[in-house]
């Protein structure tokens, strides 16, 4: 019962799994087939997937989800320090902690909707961020960030008589996960695939239907006999747990945690990923996350020299102004590109990449004569 999907959804799921697991091959031509980057796709994919369960389904725009990333990372590193370098306890612990914090924040913030909700979530995230640098430094190690040290107790590992000497690696029953190897990528990929499965289940469940209904008309829900608050809280907590999981994977692949992960810019980034891909769609947010991380990687690697090399064939009088103009957008200026994309997407394609696909395939269908009237498979981006 719990592992039932319709035939179409099995296809979607298997196709997705196949694409993710074969990324090391399919990304070769794009020059992105190295584990450190691909595991980033997976981690941010999980983050966006979870964010979308809140924003895409209920329309509640949280501006504080990065807090859960940070909390997940800190929780995972603490597990590494205190208990064991095995990844599983760390991940589970992170999810539990993030879930509990989400329950508290959600309980308060969901008393309001619309922009008030956005501000409340932002306020909570900022509190965590500020406290991480002040009162909570015993837990977060302040500006330096939380790191592994040789003196960590690691109780379980020591009882098992693990070899000492040098900092240990995060592992899963003997397989090293940290340090940017393929094992780390495949681990993240499998977690992403599991998360995707759970997301499909939610989307197709009565629970998911209720969330969409809440986005559409809360009054009607109320007078139809539903207690709205627990539904919203459940969505908030689920998305918080996804974010905590993503945060713990960051720690698994690179065992340190810093407060900058909780800055509101990081919260903004996940909003952008979700919108860019298509809020309310299953695959969109993951696609958005991958696209942004891919271009971040490309653009930030460029600098003026590389640009000069590319445009070498042009006469200097064109090359120089062109290069200095473009240099605004690359390297350090990558965020500018991001901002511009953000603005353009919201103006011209509020449904994101998935909406773009739909429009394009719509053109072809109309050409083929099989035009259907606009029906359900259509997600409004907000409120």
């Amino acid at each position: 019962m719990a592992f039932n999907l319709s035939k179409q959804d099995w296809l979607l799921f298997l196709g997705f799994a196949l694409v993710v697991l074969t990324l090391p091959i399919s990304l070769q031509p794009l020059g992105a087939a190295y584990p450190a980057l691909m595991q980033k796709f997976c981690i941010f994919g999980i983050f966006a997937l979870g964010f979308n369960i809140l924003f895409g389904l209920t329309g509640y725009l949280s501006f504080g989800h990065a807090a859960f990333i940070g909390i997940g990372s800190y929780a995972a590193v603490w597990m590494f320090k205190l208990l064991t370098m095995n990844a599983l306890p760390a991940i589970l612990f992170s999810m539990v902690v993030a879930g509990l914090v989400a329950m508290v924040i959600g309980y308060v913030a969901l008393r309001r909707s619309g922009i008030y909700f956005s501000i409340l979530t932002l306020a909570f995230a900022q509190m965590f961020y500020n406290l991480a640098y002040s009162v909570l430094t015993p837990l977060t190690n302040g500006e330096t960030g939380l790191q592994l040290t040789l003196g960590d107790p690691r109780v379980l590992d020591r009882m098992a008589g693990a070899a000492t000497g040098g900092l240990p690696r995060v592992e899963l029953f003997g397989i090293g996960l940290s340090g940017g190897g393929y094992a780390g990528f495949y681990f993240c990929a499998i977690v992403l695939i599991l998360c995707f499965f759970f997301a499909i289940k939610i989307f197709r469940s009565p629970f998911g239907l209720m969330l969409r209904a809440l986005k559409s008309n809360q009054n009607r829900m109320r007078y139809t006999g539903f207690n709205n608050r627990p539904y919203l809280l459940a969505a908030f907590v689920i998305s918080g747990v996804y974010a905590g999981l993503a945060g713990s994977l960051m720690a698994v692949t690179d065992p340190l945690a810093g407060a900058e992960r909780m800055q509101w810019t990081a919260s903004g980034e996940v909003v952008l990923m979700t919108i860019l891909g298509g809020a309310g769609t299953l695959v969109g947010p993951i696609l958005g996350a991958a696209v942004i991380k891919y271009f971040e990687n490309i653009f930030s690697a460029f600098n003026e020299q590389t640009l000069h090399r590319i445009f070498d064939f042009l006469p200097d009088s064109i090359e120089n102004p062109l290069v200095s103009g473009l240099s605004l957008f690359v390297g350090e200026g990558w965020h500018l590109t991001l901002g511009v994309i953000f603005v353009l997407i919201v103006i011209f394609l509020p449904g994101g990449i998935m909406e773009g696909f739909r429009r394009i395939s719509g053109l072809f269908k109309r050409g083929g004569g099989g035009g259907k009237p606009a029906v359900a498979a259509h997600a409004q981006p907000a409120e």
Partner: protein, 255 residues
């Protein structure tokens, strides 16, 4: 009428909005299985009265008792779970969802209660609820359009959809706020037929209506509301001849 048969009792309810007295000492009893019409000029407080009954507005004074439960402290969803459904004057539907989803959702509320975390089942496998939803969509004549988005319907069709959403819950008490406003004559007659059929199912109804044709073909009892007060109450024929009622409507016509 014995007390046991009273499903809904509005007891001396008053409500003010700032300086405006929207309801003053309204007292109303609705007997089980009957259709009770409320008529009155615009702004008389009819919708406000229904708002009080479903917990949207708290009365300043007085109580509403439904099937033996006092509704003073009840939240809107609790009142619905007790068995009260309402069709609103401006349709309240889920515009971004299909008609089928629109009608299935209330059925879930009826079956599973105010909250249930059913994230691992699938809507697809809920064939019983879907069949029932299709049946009720057929009842209001919208079955062929079940895969359309509800937002694309005309105002009259939205109203019929909302009616189906209420009927699928098989409420003990159905509140209808001008259910035929904005409908063509043909659709109005269809709705009257539908409401008559439900009457046979023994559902109690309170209906606000301007169309006298509808009132006199459906109602067992009529109350007249003017400027927040009940000015007449009785069988349809008694109320029809009441001079105060004529005055209230004429007063409006002069204004």
């Amino acid at each position: 009428m014995s007390d046991r048969n009273i499903v809904l009792h509005v007891a001396d309810v008053s409500k003010r909005f700032g300086g405006l007295k929207a309801l003053t000492d309204v007292d109303l009893s609705v007997a089980e299985g009957t259709v009770h019409a409320i008529i009155g000029p615009n702004g008389a407080g009819k919708s406000t009265l229904l708002n009080v009954c479903i917990g949207r507005i708290r009365p300043d004074q007085g109580h509403v008792v439904f099937a033996g439960t006092t509704l003073d402290q009840q939240k809107p969803h609790e009142i619905n779970q007790l068995g009260v459904s309402r069709v609103f004057q401006t349709p309240e539907i889920f515009p971004d969802l299909t008609l089928l989803d629109n009608v299935m959702i209330p059925a879930f509320a009826k079956r599973d209660g105010a909250y249930r975390f059913h994230a691992l089942q699938s809507v697809e496998s809920e064939s019983e609820i879907r069949d029932s939803a299709e049946f009720h969509l057929g009842d209001v004549g919208l079955l062929e359009r079940r895969h359309q988005l509800a937002g694309s319907l005309s105002r009259g069709d939205k109203r019929r959809l909302e009616l189906a959403m209420c009927l699928i819950q098989k409420p003990k008490l159905l509140l209808l706020d001008e259910p035929t406003a904005g409908m063509s004559r043909h659709d109005t007659n269809m709705t009257i037929e539908l409401l008559k059929r439900i009457k046979a199912r023994g559902m109690t109804k309170v209906i606000i209506e301007h169309d006298m044709h509808v009132v006199f073909s459906l109602a067992d009892r009529v109350s007249v509301l003017a400027q927040g007060r009940i000015i007449a109450d009785g069988l349809p024929d008694e109320v029809r001849g009441n001079p105060k009622v004529k005055e209230a409507y004429l007063g409006e016509a002069h204004a």
